[in-house]
């Protein structure tokens, strides 16, 4: 019995650059095409299918088309979805896009309450735990179905007691726990993991630059869990460009050198450029003269203005500046664009 586990698809994500909306749709299509080759008995999606509840028709159509193609290859496969925090409209009673995909053949959806779906003549029980059901209770306790041979839990949530609780899962009857909400693939314990997102869709995509994106398959008999990477948009974070001892021209030259040193170039990538020590006026000039051209070449450009070395910003120094700009600073590193082969991660 093989289960494919996806989460945090964020279909409808627009990002801050041209083509980013297409990235997430393509990543999803690629993932489902690979899943069709792997031939699972069940596909689960642990929430955040959509980036927000007011998506246009295009992401819904992409989901529908990809699932139909999957079922053309695997007619018996069921896609079970538990709603995530992004899938549900804030207005009570409003129907989000999950209601639409829930009507597709072979797709089972839980939007507001805990739902159990019996499959394979009752041998397999999938318990879907949507975000509103988790939030409605301070200590929601879920148990497997004792009548089923296999029990799979799908939740857009964290585990209340973390690792200390998790080792007992298999004995408690859960054969696999598919979690969503974290964008990084994270095995929590035996047979319990976050599979992460398929693209770099966080508020700061560069924070996810070193994280492989993909989905997971779990073999319920053996407990073997395998991570399958999916190609995602490459993200590059340059080391801070220093303005010390020079002005815009110096920064432009140093930036040119840094960009020339990016392996594989910058075209089509997510690029982050921290600049240290330039005034607002100099940065404006740099933007007009240099960065406008760079912006046209990349999928998304983010510039961070860092204070100069030794600059003081009040009695607290420069500390407060760092929160938004220092995270994820790396020296010219490119995020992984695709990997070859799966990664077996445990039993």
């Amino acid at each position: 019995m093989k289960v494919a586990h996806l989460s945090d698809l964020h279909l409808g994500y627009a990002g801050a650059g041209p083509g980013r909306a297409g990235d997430v749709l393509r990543a999803f299509e690629r993932a489902l095409a690979r899943i069709a080759e792997l031939g699972p008995d069940l596909v689960v999606v642990a929430g955040d299918v959509f980036d927000h509840p007011e998506v246009t028709a295009s992401p819904i159509a992409t989901f529908s088309r990809a699932v139909r193609k999957l079922r053309d290859s695997l007619p018996e496969v069921v896609v079970a979805v538990a709603a995530g925090v992004r899938d549900i409209p804030l207005e009570a009673g409003a129907h989000g896009p999950l209601m639409v995909i829930g009507a597709l053949p072979g797709v089972e959806v839980a939007t507001t309450t805990v739902r159990r779906v019996g499959l394979q003549g009752g041998k397999l029980c999938v318990t879907l735990l949507p975000h509103p059901a988790v939030m409605a209770s301070r200590s929601l306790n879920v148990s497997p179905d004792p009548a089923a041979k296999w029990n799979v839990l799908v939740a857009h949530a964290a585990l209340a007691s973390g690792r200390s609780h998790a080792p007992a899962i298999a004995r408690r009857g859960w054969d696999y726990v598919a979690l969503g909400s974290s964008h990084a693939y994270t095995p929590v314990a035996e047979r319990v993991c976050y599979c992460g997102s398929l693209e770099r869709v966080g508020t700061d995509p560069w924070e996810e630059s070193a994280i492989d994106k993909g989905f997971v398959t779990a073999q319920l008999e053996s407990g073997e869990v395998t991570f399958w990477p999916v190609e995602a948009r490459a993200a590059v974070s340059l080391a801070p460009i220093e303005a010390t001892g020079g002005g815009t021209a110096t920064v432009a030259r140093r930036l040119g050198e840094a960009l020339a040193g990016v392996p594989g170039g910058i075209d089509g990538k997510l690029l982050r450029v921290p600049v240290r020590g330039l005034s607002a006026e100099d940065l404006a000039a740099l933007d007009r003269e240099v960065l406008a051209g760079v912006r046209r070449r990349v999928a998304e450009l983010r510039v961070d203005a860092l204070p100069g070395q030794g600059a003081s910003h009040g009695s607290g120094g420069a500390g407060a500046w760092r929160d938004a700009s220092a995270a994820g600073e790396r020296s010219s590193r490119a995020g992984g664009r695709g990997r070859v082969g799966p990664r077996a991660v445990g039993r």
Binding site: A14, G15, A16, E54, V85, R86, P89, L90, E91, A92, L129, H131, V134, M135, L140, N141, V142, S143, P144, L153, A155, A157, A158, L159, A160, S161, H165, A168, I169, R171, W174, S181, T203, D204, T244, G246, S279, A280, L283, A284, L286, D287, R288, L291, E300, L301, V303, D304, A305, Q309, G310, H313, G314, S315, G316, G319, W321, D323, A324, S325
Partner: protein, 492 residues
């Protein structure tokens, strides 16, 4: 002060915030109730102790206190005195009240501290007549101390320049020697390899030639001609054949040796590889030392600038200390010096506040407004240009900078309110702004924002609580719900 409830009018609905922490969203688009809550807060805050009856409540030192009452005023007074803030500036800090110039004045006061703020406003502080520079001394001394620290740091770095230059020269010399050794080794290796190759080819040719002669001698026998001279061999066929065979074997033996030698020399010898590695390592070390030296030379320029700044501050400090003496001329001089001092202080403070807001705007927009910032800021600071997505993000950035300055200054802020602006944000900025507010909520117990449903839905996981006005069909009232990512227990 931690806000624990907002009230619409004196009898209207209450937004109970007592059990809410973190980033709290009031979800509504141009909601009249939110406007009433804010009006209630502004009215009570502005009543200066004259407020009567119900109203917004904060958690005071002794328990709940209604904003605008005498008890509230007593608590507020202590906060204002501790941080050199004026009442309207605290309103700007707490709930974004007042025009841009009040926000900037608040930022300046927080940056300078009570003494500097007083000086900036021309109040003369505790110095009475202000002749001796009064409390501004503290601020100037602080700036001078920072500048001196910077100069000392840069001087220490400059002291190492001589040593670095000597090390660089040594490293370059060693690298040149190692490079020379490696080049000589390479030439010797190439020469030997070519020699072995040539010898091998010669031996191959000779072996082929001898093999031919031997074969023809063996095949022809005594009646045949000698493979070398062409004469008939006769009874010399045996010895000649034997001599040829011995020579052939010897050539084959030597040829084998040269082939092994050639094979040996195919790859670069270990010692040569070692020489090359050493040359490369020394070259890299020299390069790195050269880069470090270049950096130190640039720091030399910084040192000059820092030293000039320190001189200026020391001069100002001396003038402050010596300006209080005696006669009318001195007094006039001190007065002029005071004006100059204030102007410099004001200019420096404005520069730093603007730089801080600039950094925030760049972070919240990902650099989208880099080109527009100077003009945008000038217009906004001048009291114009309200409205629009660019001003909206600038205002949020300014508020965040203001709150961070307050934290840096040690002001204990238990709640801040962002009453508007989030709805006007550019689509790309929404998620970044809400994420920044969520980070702010890690250090401030309650960050209350009003956000349209599309803004709250853009990053619902960043919010801890959401409040929504229920329609009549839902029974009316305000519905509170937990947001963020929940947790689940696994049972069995």
């Amino acid at each position: 002060m931690r806000i624990s409830s907002l009230q619409a009018g004196s009898r209207g609905p209450v937004l109970d915030l007592r059990d809410s922490r973190g980033l709290v969203g009031f979800v509504g688009e141009s909601d009249p109730l939110w406007d009433e809550f804010l009006l209630g807060l502004r009215t009570a805050f502005g009543s200066r102790g004259g407020h009567r009856g119900p109203g917004p409540v904060v958690e005071g030192a002794e328990g709940p206190v209604v904003v605008g009452t005498a008890a509230f005023e007593a608590e507020l007074e202590a906060v204002l005195a501790a941080h050199g803030l004026r009442r309207e500036e605290y309103g700007a800090l707490w709930f974004g009240d007042g025009p841009a110039r009040t926000w900037l004045a608040a930022a300046g006061a927080l940056l300078l501290g009570p003494a500097g703020a007083d000086e900036m406003r021309g109040g003369g502080g505790g110095g009475g007549d202000g002749s001796a520079g009064g409390l501004a001394d503290v601020w100037v001394a602080r700036l001078a101390r920072d500048a001196r620290g910077e100069v000392e740091r840069l001087m220490r770095l400059q002291e190492e320049v001589g040593g670095l230059e000597a090390r660089l020269s040594e490293a370059r010399e060693e690298a040149a020697i190692a490079r020379g050794d490696a080049e000589a080794g390479t030439m010797a290796w190439v020469r030997e390899r070519q020699d072995a190759e040539t010898r091998l080819l010669l031996y191959r040719d000779r072996e082929r030639e001898l093999r031919g002669q031997l074969t023809s001698t063996d095949e022809a026998g005594e009646d045949g001609p000698c493979g070398r001279c062409g004469r008939e061999l006769g009874d010399r066929a045996g010895p000649v054949g034997e001599a040829l065979r011995e020579e052939w074997e010897s050539v084959v033996q030597d040829g084998r040796w040269w082939r092994r030698r050639r094979d040996q020399l195919e790859g670069k010898p270990d010692d040569l590889q070692g020489s090359e590695n050493r040359a490369m390592a020394l070259g890299a070390e020299a390069e790195s030392l050269a880069e470090e030296l270049a950096r130190r030379k640039v720091q030399g320029l910084e040192l000059e600038a820092a030293a000039r700044r320190l001189d200026g501050l020391l001069e100002l400090s001396a003038r402050l200390r010596g300006g209080g003496g005696g006669g009318g001329e001195d007094r006039k001089g001190a007065g002029a010096g005071g004006e100059e001092r204030r102007a410099r202080l004001l200019s420096e403070t404005r520069r730093r506040v603007r730089a801080r807001i600039h950094g925030k705007v760049v972070a919240l927009t990902g650099g989208r407004l880099l080109g527009a910032f100077p003009e945008l800021f000038a217009v906004w600071a001048g009291g114009e240009g309200r409205g629009g997505e660019d001003v909206a993000v600038l205002e949020v950035a300014a508020r965040i900078a203001l709150v961070e300055l307050a934290a840096d200054a040690g002001a204990k802020l238990d709640s801040v309110i962002f009453p508007e602006g989030l709805d006007r944000l550019h689509r790309e900025d929404r998620a970044r702004v809400v994420a920044a507010l969520a980070r702010l909520a890690r250090s401030i117990p309650v960050v209350l924002v009003c956000a349209a449903p599309r803004v709250a839905a853009a990053v619902p996981e960043c919010f801890d609580f959401l409040y929504r006005v229920r329609g009549v069909a839902e029974g009316g009232g305000i519905r509170r719900q937990r947001s963020g990512i929940g947790a689940v227990w696994l049972g069995g």
